[in-house]
Assembly symmetry: C2
Homo-oligomer: 134 residues x 2
């Protein structure tokens, strides 16, 4: 009887802990630093999404260790207005806890990262460092 009570309590406590950790993980983007690598669209410019997703981004993510919370990739579809040009073909984004740790991790690998650009694009990216407000 007592054992069952204890078991029920433990089950409940485990559930509550797991659930609240999930909640926290979901909420945790606020305050994070985003490094967005944005590839502008222009006539004659190319972008190989498959290579970017399977090779380039995993390579860079591998340099970042536990500072990296997550990374995302998006594919540009259109501008906001029907007769405007697409602003960006693709954007890759790293969500990190510390900008200085990101910079220290990237610095020794900058040449390798740049050398890989030619494998998937012929355009120079625009890079934005921002902070998640909400």
């Amino acid at each position: 009887m007592k054992f069952k009570l204890i078991a029920t309590f433990l089950l409940f406590a485990t559930c509550v802990t797991a659930f609240s950790q999930e909640k926290q993980a979901q909420k945790s983007e606020k305050g994070l630093i985003k490094i967005s690598i944005m590839y502008p669209f222009a006539e004659g410019k190319t972008f190989n999404m498959e290579y970017y997703e399977t090779k380039h981004m995993p390579m860079v993510a591998g340099y970042l260790g536990s500072n990296l919370v997550k990374y995302t990739i998006e594919k540009g579809l259109a501008a906001g207005m029907p007769n405007q040009a697409l602003p960006y073909m693709a954007i890759g984004t790293f969500y990190v806890k510390s900008l200085s740790d990101y910079q220290s991790a990237i610095a020794p690998n900058r040449d390798a990262i740049r050398a890989d650009f030619a494998n998937y694009t012929n355009v120079s990216p625009v890079i934005l460092v921002s902070e998640v407000v909400k």
Copy 2:
């Protein structure tokens, strides 16, 4: 005795359901459409983040109903290189399930949205529609 078993089972089932729904919510960004409203930085251009966060974005989000999965706000901090200008002061992003539903919801409110711009910025945004690949 039987009651306790049933109660324990129900508690467990509730936990598992809640937990798996959380997992699903977290995973669900892939395939979503992002509408990113990006405010370029330039000399003399201003942006009131407090108004944007507390008034403008909640107003637009209110038009989108259940098509809106989430929205985010980020504040531009720096360019990728030390001697480059900040690309954007701020970016607001709506994550939606359907682009056409987004367009139908915004169309009748476009004038109200544009009229509100002057309350927080003097710059015209660049808008990117993209698809979350990862």
